[in-house]
């Protein structure tokens, strides 16, 4: 039995089981991740993505520690040198997941807050990557980096990745930590000298100039960057009615207004922001996906797999 009293089905979950409302009932992040990824993978039996990762990709020179069964003896017989065969599943994909845990992520009008959705997505990606024997690291941040989990692989590492993600939620008032995502990404770029994939899960409500600098920095270090912009339905639709006092979650002011009167202008401003992000990502070969917190939670996983199956840039 789960802590919520729900019995996890033995069979692979159905699509509707991946709705945020249902996933939110699963208390443990690890269970959520497994539930989501298994659901996704069960749907991929008919998918063209399945099996691609075990195809031969390249040779590399043998180093002590490599398994002897991977040595390509045909190459040895011709060159008298030891080379091991590398397959896609064995390329030791190095992925860094950066999760925004600033105060703005605490907002949510539905079953899950943006923060809840983001950490679930992050955990699911970690589960998927660990399952594929990739190396996964994790960084959480708000106004500064809060947690660093070094890159490793293996099932045991999954728990060390999920641990920081399961840290307690922010206070109810949600006020406090601002977002310094750009600086965090710059730090990650500096620290990760070896090129890999950097997955950013955030609402991107931060200073765009700093954000773009951090992303550009990552790209300059050869990292593939995937950005999941997580936004709430109410932020995207702004369907509030009646006189409302809006209070900023990051202590950035308050406003009492009649929301319908401001809706068009607000949506226009948000659209301008998102367009600037889209332009930047397009120009810098950064994969950007905007996700509603009401979306099925497999969406991000599928998007990631689709992105990774495409040609490398």
């Amino acid at each position: 039995m789960s802590p919520g009293g729900r019995t996890i089905p033995a069979a692979a979950p159905r699509l509707e089981d991946l709705l945020p409302e249902r996933i939110a009932r699963l208390a443990r992040l690890e269970v959520r991740a497994k539930h989501i990824v298994e659901g996704v993978l069960s749907g991929l039996h008919r998918s063209p993505y399945f099996g691609q990762s075990i195809e031969f990709r390249q040779h590399r020179e043998y180093v002590p520690g490599d398994e002897a069964r991977n040595i390509d003896w045909k190459v040895w017989s011709k060159t008298d040198k030891y080379y091991v065969k590398l397959f896609d599943e064995d390329t030791n994909l190095r992925t860094t997941i950066v999760v925004d845990r600033s105060a703005s992520m605490a907002y949510g009008s539905g079953a899950m807050t943006k923060a809840d959705y983001a950490r679930t997505v992050a955990a699911s990606l970690a589960y998927l990557l660990i399952k594929q024997h990739d190396i996964v690291g994790l960084v959480t941040c708000d106004s500064e980096i809060r947690d660093r989990v070094p890159h490793r692989s293996g099932q045991r590492h999954l728990l060390s990745l999920i641990g920081p993600l399961e840290a307690p939620e922010l206070d109810d008032d949600g006020l406090g930590a601002t977002t310094a995502l750009g600086d965090t990404l710059a730090t990650v770029a500096e620290e990760q000298t070896r090129a890999g994939i950097v997955v950013v899960v955030s609402d991107l409500f931060t200073d765009t100039e700093t954000l773009f600098r951090g992303l550009r920095f990552l790209r300059s270090r050869g990292h593939d960057v995937v950005v999941f912009q997580v936004l709430d339905d109410s932020e995207l639709d702004f369907d509030f009615v009646g006189t409302t006092r809006f209070e900023g979650l990051e202590a950035d002011g308050e406003l009492t207004c009649d929301p319908p009167a401001l809706r068009a202008s607000y949506l226009a401003a948000l659209e301008r922001f998102m367009e600037s992000v889209r332009r930047f990502c397009g120009a810098n070969a950064i994969d950007l996906q905007t996700i509603r917190t009401s979306e099925h939670l497999d969406a991000a996983i599928l998007a990631f797999m689709k992105l990774r199956s495409g040609p490398r840039r």
Binding site: L236, L249, L270, A299
Partner: protein, 746 residues
């Protein structure tokens, strides 16, 4: 509350509504205080949006709030029955203190029916009553004068320069309880001038003149008349206002004239009476019947007119005969309509056994007088005429008033006194026929020597014009023109004239007198009724008639002398002379109109006792002139008035007069307000108020503002709904951003 009373019929409702005008503001403020809190992440975009739209949103909010407040106020105005009344505005806008003079038009036309207050005069009273109530509420020491048009020139007033206090209002109500419009046409211009004269200049008070009238076109349709007096008052610095209380006239038929030979009326002699009925409405009238009353008795005759078109006049003919009797009144009536005073026309008649006709025989050597007398009374009593024959010398001794007509046959000379009496007789309505013969035409100075020449329609010039006839010439010697009642002699009776032979006529000059000369000698518009044609196409006048004073004169230019003409020998002479007699006798004394007054002349030597009788039979006390030489009574209602004077010396004098409502009072068509404003000119500050405050809500030009207010309310509702919808639906353009772009599968 008193502040609102002048402007609202229901001030309580208006006050309550005005108080409710604060409700939208309160609701708005309460809504601003009651809000829900939302902790929001995308504040930067929200604040940016607010910054960009703050001014527009503020304006829209103000517009919405204003629309709601105005809407409530409009509803309050509708419920409270807003009175956008120029009178109210005029009174409120007056300087303080002010003397208000209200002149009420009490002419007969004000008796027209009104649905609201019985008569138009009732509406006028209501206007004055309400205005005075309004003035009474002013804090200023205003005074009012209220007077009627008929009494204004006499200096009489219902209220004279009085403060509007309960006692004054009680007096006003007491007067209004018995007051009604008259039957006459009081002189409005003089009344307006008299009313304006009451507004003393230089006493430091504001001066306001209000004329309450039915605003008929016949009074106000031109620059003259009362409009001129109002303009003059305005020029004197008086704030002038015309209140038009008349309503558009409905069906209105009027008996406008009665024609008949009442002057030659005699016992049992048939008379044809023509009753003219005018249709003053915009639709045709069918089967109009005319009833006849003699004093209080309805006579068993009735005239009918099948159809009278709008604006047309038609006549109903009644053939009647009356028994001998004292003076009485004939009343011709049509069915009552909205304006009753002109539905009746009265004529006074006197029916003697016979009418005397005086023949002054200037040629006693002939049998002309006998011939004329036989023609007038061929059978005793049958024509109702009794001829008396006298010589010219006796003319000065006879009371001519006893005669219906005087025939002067070949009279060349008479005493100046006789000529003067003859002129006086004609001036008072008598008829004189001068038959010119040898004694006149033989005089070289005929025109100047004949003492009564001024009374002749054609003045002899002394010539005898011979009319030789060639053998075989069968052309008629006497030809009548188709003039008035003599028209039959030009038509179906012409063949009976053909045998008449006229050998000679007196040369004459027919009077052709213009209007200016008419005032000098009282003779006007001579008409040649019959003439003697000549072979060359010219003709000699034979019978010429003319009006003179109140009477009529005729000149026959050939005598009853075989040497001149043989017409007295032909039977056609009898009807011709009777027609001439009836024409000269006229219609008797014409009826007067209300307001004419009736006067009896007295002699200073005798002590007369004078009594008077009004139409309703009541005895009234006449006014004696200061010198005692006359007594008179006013004639204020239609009917017959009688003045009797008797002296100790046994002299009795009786005069009577039948009066009708002036026919012009039946012209109830209203003047066009815009037209009168044009007449006043752009610079004029004279205001015209249409309608009374008893009617519903009135606009500045008298229109009902209920519809206007309701329309405004609807328009404001639309504005309010549109603004509210705009404010609540800003950006309602779909599902917002990132709608289904990312595999949303819900």
């Amino acid at each position: 509350m008193s502040l609102l009373e002048p402007f609202f019929a229901n001030p309580l409702l208006a006050a309550a509504g005005a108080a409710c005008a604060a409700a939208p503001v309160l609701i708005h403020l309460l809504n601003r205080l009651r809000f829900r809190r939302v902790k929001f992440a995308a504040m930067a975009f929200l604040l940016e949006s607010d910054e960009r739209n703050r001014r527009r949103l503020l304006l829209e909010q103000i517009l919405l709030l204003a629309a709601r407040v105005l809407l409530v106020l409009l509803i309050a105005a509708l419920l409270g029955r807003l009175l956008v009344d120029p009178a109210t505005l005029a009174i409120v806008g007056q300087e303080s203190p002010t003397h208000h003079v209200y002149l009420i038009d009490d002419s007969a036309s004000m008796r027209a029916s009104s649905d609201d207050a019985g008569t138009v005069f009732g509406l006028a009273e209501a206007v004055v009553r309400r205005d005075l109530e309004l003035i009474g509420k002013r804090a200023a020491a205003d005074t009012v004068t209220v007077l009627t048009a008929s009494a204004a020139t006499d200096g009489d007033a219902i209220l004279s320069d009085r403060r509007v206090e309960p006692a004054a209002m009680a007096e006003l109500e007491s007067a209004f309880a018995t007051l009604e419009a008259g039957y006459g046409s009081p002189p409005l211009p003089a009344a307006v001038a008299a009313a304006a004269a009451r507004l003393t200049q230089g006493d430091g008070r504001g001066r306001r003149l209000v004329v309450v009238t039915d605003f008929r076109a016949v009074d106000w349709g031109d620059r003259g008349g009362p409009l001129s007096a109002v303009t003059e008052a305005e020029a004197e610095g008086v704030s002038a206002e015309i209140v038009a209380v008349g309503s558009a006239p409905g069906p209105n038929l009027a008996v406008t004239a009665v024609r008949g030979d009442f002057g030659s009326l005699a016992a049992d002699v048939p008379v044809r009476i023509a009753v003219a009925v005018t249709n003053r409405s915009a639709v045709a009238a069918d089967d109009v019947t005319v009833s006849v009353f003699k004093d209080a008795d309805r006579l068993p005759v009735m005239g009918t007119v099948e159809r009278i078109g709008p604006g047309e006049t038609a006549e109903a003919f009644l053939d009647m005969a009356f028994p001998a009797g004292d003076a009485s009144t004939l009343r011709f009536e049509i069915e009552a309509d909205e304006f009753r005073p002109d539905d009746t026309f009265r004529v006074g008649i006197s029916v003697p056994e016979t009418r005397s006709v005086l023949i002054v025989d200037g040629s006693p050597e002939t049998d002309a007088a006998v011939l004329l007398g036989d023609a007038l009374a061929p059978v005793p009593g049958i024509a109702g005429l009794t001829p008396d024959v006298i010589t010219p010398t006796a003319l000065g001794e006879i009371d001519l008033s006893a005669y219906a007509v005087v025939y002067l046959h070949d009279v060349a000379e008479m005493t100046p006194d006789a000529a003067e009496r003859l002129a006086e007789y004609v001036g008072k309505g008598g008829g004189v026929a001068a038959i010119v013969g040898p004694s006149v035409s033989g005089r070289a100075d005929a025109g100047r020597a004949i003492e009564y020449a001024d009374l002749m329609a054609a003045v002899p010039d002394g010539r005898k014009v011979e009319r030789p006839k060639r053998p075989g010439d069968e052309s008629p010697d006497v030809v009548f023109a188709g003039v008035g009642r003599f028209a039959p002699f030009a038509g179906r009776l012409a063949e009976y004239l053909r045998p008449i032979r006229v050998m000679a006529v007196a040369g004459s000059s027919v009077r052709s007198i213009d209007e200016g000369d008419r005032e000098d000698d009282g003779v006007a518009d001579a008409a040649v009724v019959a003439s003697c044609p000549r072979p060359d196409g010219s003709s000699d006048p034979l019978l010429v008639i003319a009006d003179a004073g109140d009477g009529r004169v005729a000149t026959l230019l050939t005598p009853l002398d075989d040497r001149w003409a043989d017409w007295s020998k032909h039977f056609i002479f009898v009807p011709l002379i009777h027609e001439l007699t009836r024409h000269l006798a006229g219609a008797g004394r014409p009826p007067g109109v209300v307001g004419d007054g009736l006067t009896v002349e007295l002699s200073g030597a005798d002590d007369f006792e004078v009594t008077a009788e009004a139409p309703d039979g009541t005895v009234v006390v006449p006014d004696r002139s200061a010198d005692g030489l006359s007594a008179s009574i006013p004639t204020e209602t239609p009917g017959r008035y009688v003045l009797k004077a008797s002296s100790d010396a046994g002299i009795d004098r009786v005069v009577d007069l039948v009066v009708n409502t002036p026919r012009r009072e039946g012209q109830t068509e209203l003047a066009a307000v815009d037209g009168v404003r044009d007449l006043l000119g752009e610079d004029s500050s004279v205001s015209i108020r249409v309608g009374s405050r008893d009617e519903a809500m009135l606009g500045p030009d008298g229109g009902d503002v209920t519809t206007l207010l309701a329309t405004l309310a609807v328009a404001l509702s639309v504005v309010e709904l549109w603004t509210a919808a705009k404010l609540s639906r800003h950006g309602d353009r779909g599902p917002g951003l990132v709608g289904r772009r990312f595999g949303r599968r819900r």
